[in-house]
Symmetry: C2
Subunit: 577 residues, 2 copies
């Protein structure tokens, strides 16, 4: 229900405020976490037309007796990639709303790399008017490099056009990851920054310091969510960057950074999740979990709540959101206490969560993006053993950087092959956007596979099909399974598909309800554990680990559809040294 900003609507809201008409909703006897006045005080709160209209109780169509519970503003996630949740936007919204999330700012970087502008338009269209507002940032780095084939290429004109076309929904330029390009004054990057002039520009500059950081900040980015060290964050804070403390499913920086937040600088911080997998989301919660963790680390609750509400709202220039005050959108979370932040009630745009109808599925026909050149046969995966020095990608547990190893190949019939005894899997990246027939082949150590193959169409940033396996037949079948389904994940052994999750939206997101996605992922995990010989209770994230093996901007050795990439020299290298 959008706020009706016409005269009659405003008159009605004023009449409710004056007490001359009943409110739509009154929340009485609350302890209000007032992020504007910086205090927690008793309050009754009235709502009309989805907007708070004052602090007086009275007649109302619906009344919530807070009975002394704490009323917080709805939570706002200033940086999240919805694609990482594997959920389509409507399903995502339905998944986060019970955790008190009322708005997110999302960077559709993944789908943009697959489908370009139509992908972004899809995300916009199917998140239009959800009870949880999805604001967008315009991806700045599509493609990440030319060392992989991605589905699209977006330039400065695209940035300018999209910002002009969706002024209220696209807030600015998304995380500017090509920080070396910005610092060096690369034309294309600067043109994108200039195209976003006057709008919000998010930064992404892990470890950048000193004069290079000066140059980066001078160029325009106003935030950073890549700080991992306190000193790094302090240096960025002093230069005026809004520091988004990230606590996602893989990257967790809250404990390291929270100590930097003081009374005098708290307004410069937000809590964000960046990448959150659906199992985590469902189990731990969303921003409510981050607020809880921040408080557990010693941050005063008022400040923690502000970092998940008014602070991101202000940073992004979201007018009249992020606080409980007259004229603000009536998003609020009633929590039992300021320690557990256990949620008693969620109000979105003035209505209880239960009164909202959420679509179960995507609202639109999910866009397919699966165009592989040629048949995917076993024969194409063969690797003749050309020498005794094989380059191998070494997985570093829990990290997305890899090692560049040189090992002796395991050879059978003149071919370099996977070898479970050495935890050595064959790896293939199959171009899926343009039908080029590109196929990159390599080897990886540390995935833990003992048999069969696994495949995924989530493979940063170009999101080609990535397959790892112990034999070529299973690898080819795993890849073909995704080619047929339109993308997703698959686990294959001995010519049989043990489990698969279909990601019908661009091979990145499911169009199914949350429960279906969760049970699919559980089955997938079970199948993988079978292949890896792990007990049922073992934690393992092979698809996530695999999805970063093709990310050619993170050191050291990666595989794209064009072959092996040495990230330290930013160039291709041969499979055999």
């Amino acid at each position: 229900m959008p706020v009706s900003d016409d005269l009659d609507g405003l008159k009605r809201r004023l009449a409710v405020a004056r007490g001359e008409m009943p409110a739509d909703l009154v929340i009485k006897n609350a302890r209000l976490v007032n992020v504007l006045s910086g205090e927690i005080h008793d309050a009754d709160v009235a709502v009309a037309d989805g907007v708070f209209v004052g602090f007086a109780a009275g007649e109302a169509a619906d009344t919530i007796d807070a009975a002394g519970r704490y009323l917080c503003p709805g939570f706002i996630d200033g940086h999240i990639h919805i694609e990482s949740t594997l959920l389509s936007p409507p399903v995502f919204a339905r998944a986060v709303a019970p955790h008190g999330t009322c708005a997110v700012v999302t960077d559709p970087h993944e789908i943009a790399n697959v489908l370009g502008l139509p992908g972004i338009e899809y995300m916009l269209a199917c998140s239009h008017d959800l009870p949880v507002t999805c604001y967008f940032m315009m991806p700045s780095c599509v493609p990440a490099t030319d060392m992989a084939t991605s589905g699209a290429r977006l330039g400065a004109m695209d940035v300018a056009a999209m910002l002009a076309r969706h002024p209220d929904r696209i807030l600015g330029l998304a995380e500017v990851m090509n920080f070396p390009g910005v610092v060096a004054g690369d034309d294309m990057m600067l043109r994108k920054l200039i195209a976003a002039r006057g709008r919000v520009i998010d930064g992404h500059a892990p470890g950048l310091t000193g004069r290079a950081l000066d140059a980066y900040v001078t160029a325009g980015p106003g935030s950073d969510h890549e700080c991992t060290e306190l000193d790094e964050a302090r240096e960025k804070l002093r230069r005026g960057l809004h520091v988004m403390i990230r606590q996602g499913s893989t990257e967790k920086n809250l404990e390291s950074l929270i100590g930097l937040v003081t009374a005098d600088n708290a307004g410069q911080f937000s809590l964000v999740s960046d990448d959150k997998d659906p199992t985590d989301l469902s189990r731990e919660g969303h921003l409510n979990a981050l607020v809880r963790q921040a408080v557990a680390q010693g941050l005063p609750p008022l400040r923690a709540v502000a970092m998940a509400s008014i602070n991101p709202a202000r940073y992004f220039g979201l007018r009249r959101r992020g606080a409980v005050a007259p004229g603000y959108r009536a998003d609020a979370v009633l929590v039992e206490d300021l320690e557990s932040f256990a949620i008693a009630e969620v109000v979105l745009a003035g209505r209880r969560l239960g009164a909202w109808e959420f679509a179960d599925r995507s609202c639109l026909t999910p866009p397919r993006a699966m165009r592989v050149g040629g048949e995917m046969t076993e024969a194409r995966l063969a690797v003749p053993a050309a020498s005794s020095r094989l380059r191998v990608i070494g997985i570093v547990p829990g990290q997305i950087v890899t090692e560049a190893l040189i090992l002796e190949p395991s050879v059978r019939d003149g071919l370099a092959v996977a070898d479970p005894a050495r935890d050595l899997a064959k790896l293939a990246v199959i171009e899926r956007h343009k039908g080029t027939g590109n196929l990159g082949l390599g080897f990886v150590r540390g995935l833990g596979l003992k048999a069969g193959a696994i495949a995924g169409s989530v493979a940063h940033d170009a999101h080609n099909i990535i397959v790892a396996g112990m034999n070529d037949a299973d690898m080819a079948l795993a890849a073909r399974t995704l080619m047929v389904s339109g993308g997703g994940f698959a686990v294959v052994r001995d010519g049989q598909v043990l489990a698969q999750v279909r990601l019908a939206v661009a091979g990145l997101m499911s169009d199914a309800p949350l429960e279906v996605v969760l049970s699919g992922l559980a089955a997938l995990g079970a199948a993988y554990r079978e292949l890896a010989g792990l007990p049922p209770e073992a934690e393992a994230h092979p698809f996530m680990a695999m999805s970063f093996l093709s990310l050619e901007v993170i050191p050291s050795l990666k595989l794209t559809d064009k072959g092996l990439v040495d990230v330290t020299t930013f160039g291709p290298v041969s499979l055999f040294a």
Copy 2:
């Protein structure tokens, strides 16, 4: 010098940031008052193209050795009426710059009431590209009421058109003074608010509380600068209003309100001056004086500086202004200490103040606004004594509210006349915008005149000619003096003009340099003191006191060109009861 936002300019700034090109200016060995990181730390600061580009010293065309002095961001006044300084915008800018002011947000309410849109356009045009940036707000209440004849009438369409026409210079809707209209849901007021939707809307709601305040805030205003009591300010703060603590030449609220500012809410406050007379400005300073006073009242310096820099910048959405950080406009004030805030150097857009050339006078032909209907003769000022119960405006010293008195008239030849023995002056308000010939007549007690007459064309809000005197001949001469000069102030005795200040810009502002205005005002004061029989050292502000006698929205009894107004009933009343 505007920031060149083209590619080459940005490249140059990045090259300076990287240390590969010399900076335009380096300020080294400073103690930086960092309002973003909430700390004071040592820093060198480099500038290129009028923008800060980093925290590294190096080669530079100009270097300032701060020698441990404190570097504050340039000061920003979030609410000031330039007209009240009697200075044209360029002269105003030159007057405030030495006090460290780098930007003001001004409401051209006075000139709009005289000249309408052309008056606003004049202010915009002649403040364009000054080293001290003049941002504007679109006046919301022109005219204030229909009980006086003002020079213009601005509606919601005018608001919408001007906001669209000057999106970068007019930030939103100026102080919405007609708060009863807003609360009651008056169509015209709501249409103006809707026209400014999405932009900044300033409030003005003295004493408003409870449900009425709820309604007012719901309608849109985001700030208030009319708080006089701590409890009043707290109530507004809780409702999310940005509280502008006003410390002007007449209204001084700093001492009463400063205690409300805490570490957790400081971001919601700014320091503003509202109305500042040129003598004050020249003697005491501008925001530097407010910061000094706030610190003297116990506010931590970091917080006081933020309230005069980053806080107003954020409230008004001024991107990359209000702090010393890379990419921010290079406005800074070097002060000796954080107690006196004595200014050692001012840098505006990257250049020392001394390097700027300021125009001495207005840049454009000052617009005249002086159209009086008929001759201004002594005869027209005669008041036949109709009864023994004369309504008299009673001045309350130091306040703009007046008393509604009923006194026996002093009668001569059947006419009610002024009477120095009773401190009773005749008062006339002469319509000067449309040549209607309107002439309001009345009496005032408490001006202190003993002979002659004084006249002024500054008379809130309609700014007709207001004349007070002890005889009709001098009153008529005083009025004619302004009619000839185009407006200003005059002191007349025995048929002689003792002193006058010409306000060539719409009868509100001078087009002369500051020194000329100051000496003119000094002469005017001396002449008045002669008329009042006061010693030369006596403080007196008769023209200011007189300028509020026609302000028909402030109780109790006022005089407009249409006659006496009883403000409590909001209607006209006769001169004789």
